[in-house]
Symmetry: C2
Subunit: 535 residues, 2 copies
């Protein structure tokens, strides 16, 4: 979205400034896209790992999704497998915080979640796109029950502080009127002969017919207030039953009001590959996946092990670690091979004898900052008062996002994703105490839902840059960084291979972790088979 004149007297950058911060979330998504975040799966079936060489062993560092996929597949192939995990739970960033859970961030602030039974917030990933075949495969294999996740909700709000006097608009009329005005303008251009060099007469006639239906234009190809347009944007009075129940049509907003609001910038989000329907979530929280892996792997995972040094030689790999459950006692674990899934933000601080290319790659990748707020309310006012069932409200306030639960409709209480912050605003929130983050999130959210202040009960605030096990949210690749470092990061260095979302073209998504683990262990198996496994 940066740079370049757009042909008129005004640069794209000025334009974006003109339309204000309202484009915030869309620009964020577009930025994510350029960074390769809004991405997809190269999964093509379970990993092709044959039978392990006799006695071959693999040490896996990290019991997140990547480490546990690697462990399960290698175990099944006959490898002797052990995982060392820093946390006292499996999953890593695959995680749901529920009532009673305790979390201490760097700096020492401890939060104890007070959510009622059955409620949760996913501080990490919260969506499963239909094309993330790898993670969906493991959900199926592990019996993790899935339900639908609502991304686009036509009745959720689009909010800009300078748009429509700061009054939140429903997604519905913004989309209907954008489509309608675009269709009318293009129909006029076509009828005026402006497209004659571009489309044949026959195609023009089909185009006009398509625009009329797609944009809800009237018989003269105008976008006006009538039953057809109201049936997209909503009625002034909805139809009902019995006497006096005829609907009253609504009038579209003016094109210039719509354009200058900038709220159109939110419309394409649900059409991005990763945000398209069908999206899913595990019943009970995203953490159900990590928990299921953890149960499956059982004692193969050793928890509360803080890796302090990783050494390899021709014979194998040894990881030294502190046993945090036992006063930090020093231990070590060895194997023929090592799949290391420790986030690079942490791994860069751990001595490891790998070559310069991998070392440079580890140190090069910055980690994105992100903050998520989970807010429990006494009643589901968004359903009762606003008729919003699931989906997302987008705002240009720093909180960017209000996510409504896609489940438990009509139940008594509810937990909202009260904010999903990125970049500098995330860093600003990170510098606050958890209580301050929640207060600030409530203050901002109340501009959209005034019910916030009366109905709030309790909350948790996850600032990923203060996370002791990741020091950030995910690896923030750029094209230049990828060009220079990506293959060096992923290539085997001796007996060590890295895996995780950071070692994929699908950063930030669990599918990146799955596919990178699969790719890593396929290469590991090739090497082990070629070289013989046991040291």
């Amino acid at each position: 979205m940066d740079g370049g004149s757009s042909g008129g007297g005004i640069t794209r950058r000025q334009l974006l400034r003109m339309i204000g911060m309202t484009a915030g979330s869309a620009v964020m998504y577009q930025a994510m896209t350029s960074l390769g975040l809004a991405a997809e799966s190269g999964y093509s079936g379970p990993p092709k790992v044959g039978k392990a060489p006799p006695g071959a062993s693999v040490l896996i560092l990290g019991a997140g999704i990547a480490g546990m996929v690697a462990a399960m597949e290698l175990r099944d192939a006959g490898y002797k497998v052990q995982i060392l995990e820093f946390n006292d739970r499996p999953g890593g960033r695959n995680w749901s915080i529920r009532g009673g859970d305790r979390y201490t961030e760097l700096g020492g602030e401890t939060q104890v979640c007070e959510f009622d039974e059955g409620h949760y917030i996913n501080p990490g990933p919260w969506r499963l796109p239909y094309h993330h075949h790898g993670i969906l495969h493991y959900c199926k294999r592990l019996g993790v029950t899935l339900e639908n996740f609502v991304q686009v909700n036509y009745n959720a709000y689009l909010h800009g502080q300078n748009a429509f006097d700061g009054k939140p608009q429903r997604h519905r009329p913004i989309q209907a009127d954008y489509h309608g005005h675009v269709a009318e303008l293009l129909a006029k251009a076509a009828q005026g002969g402006g497209l004659d060099q571009l489309v044949s007469e026959q195609d023009k006639q089909i185009l006009l017919a398509s625009l009329q239906w797609w944009g809800a234009l009237d018989q003269d190809y105008r976008y006006t207030g009538n039953h057809g347009s109201s049936d997209r944007r909503g009625f002034n009075k909805d139809p009902g039953g019995g006497l006096g129940a005829a609907p009253e049509i609504s009038q579209p907003m003016k094109l210039d009001d719509l354009l200058r609001s900038g709220l159109w910038s939110n419309l394409p989000i649900g059409a991005l590959y990763d945000m398209q329907t069908t999206l899913m979530q595990p019943v009970g929280g995203m953490g159900r996946i990590g928990e299921a892996f953890g149960r499956e792997l059982g004692s193969l995972i050793r928890y509360q092990c803080k890796v302090t040094r990783i050494e390899q030689n021709d014979a194998g790999v040894t990881a030294h670690f502190s046993d945090l459950a036992n006063g930090g006692a020093e231990h070590s674990a060895s194997a023929d091979w090592c799949v290391c899934t420790i986030p690079l933000s942490i791994l860069g601080q751990i001595p490891m004898n790998v070559g310069a290319p991998m070392q440079a790659a580890i140190r090069a990748l910055p980690y994105a900052s992100s903050v998520k707020l989970g807010l429990q309310f006494k009643r589901r006012f968004w359903e009762e008062d606003d008729h919003i069932y699931g989906g997302i409200t987008f705002t240009d306030l720093p909180i960017t996002t209000i996510g409504y639960p896609s489940h438990g409709y009509h139940s008594e209480k509810g937990v909202l994703l009260g904010g999903y912050l990125w970049g500098t605003e995330a860093m600003r929130f990170t510098s606050m105490t958890p209580a301050q983050r929640i207060q600030e999130g409530l203050k901002q959210g109340a501009k959209i839902h005034p019910q916030y202040l009366d109905e709030f009960e309790n909350g948790v605030a996850m600032a990923w840059h203060r996370s002791p096990f990741t020091l950030g949210c995910f690896g923030q690749w750029t094209d230049a960084l990828r060009e220079e470092h990506y293959d060096n990061l992923c290539a085997f260095d001796g007996r060590i291979v890295l895996a995780g979302e950071h070692a994929s073209y699908i950063p930030a998504w669990q599918e990146g972790a799955v596919t990178s683990a699969m790719n890593a262990i396929e290469r590991l198996h090739q090497r082990a088979t070629a070289q013989g496994g046991a040291a």
Copy 2:
């Protein structure tokens, strides 16, 4: 969509013929819209019925949604209430057919459903729009648990027999390329000065920026194959993890191929007010609503009563009925007032002493024909092979629709909505035996899912014109019919008032039944209070 020249040398009708039958489902939806089907709720809170006059009684005919709403609210207000119902179950068209259920249609064909435990088909309504506040209110009140219903699935198919050699296309590239080409054409028109009379220079610049983001145009406002467009339409090779995992971009289809396919006609369906997210369904089938009402009302409902005559006088209303459970023994039931929810297709055959205006209205309304097929398959090949989780495939084959279950993802078996037929094709299917309907549905569906033939297990076929309790699917209003008859249909005639989807501006939808019942009983209460209740 009928009539009128579109400005070129070709009529709209010719155009539609040219693009073939591919527009079938969209045209159907548009026709539904013109008929007032794609409609909405005038609900504004529970009905305003105060305390009943002492001893006042109401006889309700029909235990569908309208009748049961009326009964519950009138009971709560203190009226003495009795419902006579033809079927041996509550709900009427609110109905889920499950394994073991038996259904005999007119003509004598009996189907016994062989679905496995946990599977169902909704032969009647299957979706609950977020703005149908009335029916949602009763779901909440009755504890009917809701889950999301997927309408638009970007990975489901759009299929035209003459489009792309009959090869089904995913929704994803059709939408992305339609948006992209529309955006590019409009950007070119804007840059060529073609919109200068329509938008200001400043608005034009914002419009261009919006089109670029909305349509995934490149920096020169062209819709080309690049990461941005692939991130809407899909990649040739999805990105993955580890080495060799970079994505491969895809190339958009040509504008004329897209236009002539007619598949664009399906794009607006999910933007219609009734099809917009969030859509919901009761867990376990739509019939859970009727069942919950039935439990709530208990012995107030007398089942298997076939009403044969309805008489009113100054003192009250009497319905004569055959007790089908006891050899058709003749009985009667009387009350001060009557709320009659019997479908007009049936009611027109029952003697009832109401005035000419209501009689004419009852006889005037035709009933739409519709056929729904429920097909159980051994495995969920649409998920396993096609990666389709919920949502709808649209085709111009007579079946029009393949609906995938929005629940039970990854479970072993599944039931598809294998066809949802309308109009003449529905009548053609109605004339077949149930077994023939299913065979024909399989034959057609196999053109989209070849797995049909190997995986099919059993099915049920509901032809609404052979339904003994409705003789059709729903009341098919036109503007002219409404003008002449609607108010006469809804107005009280003496002590009788009609209610049901046919007495609403939301025909075919449960919300029409709810709002019409509410409106009817509010008027009944006014009359009862004014006149005194007991006869």
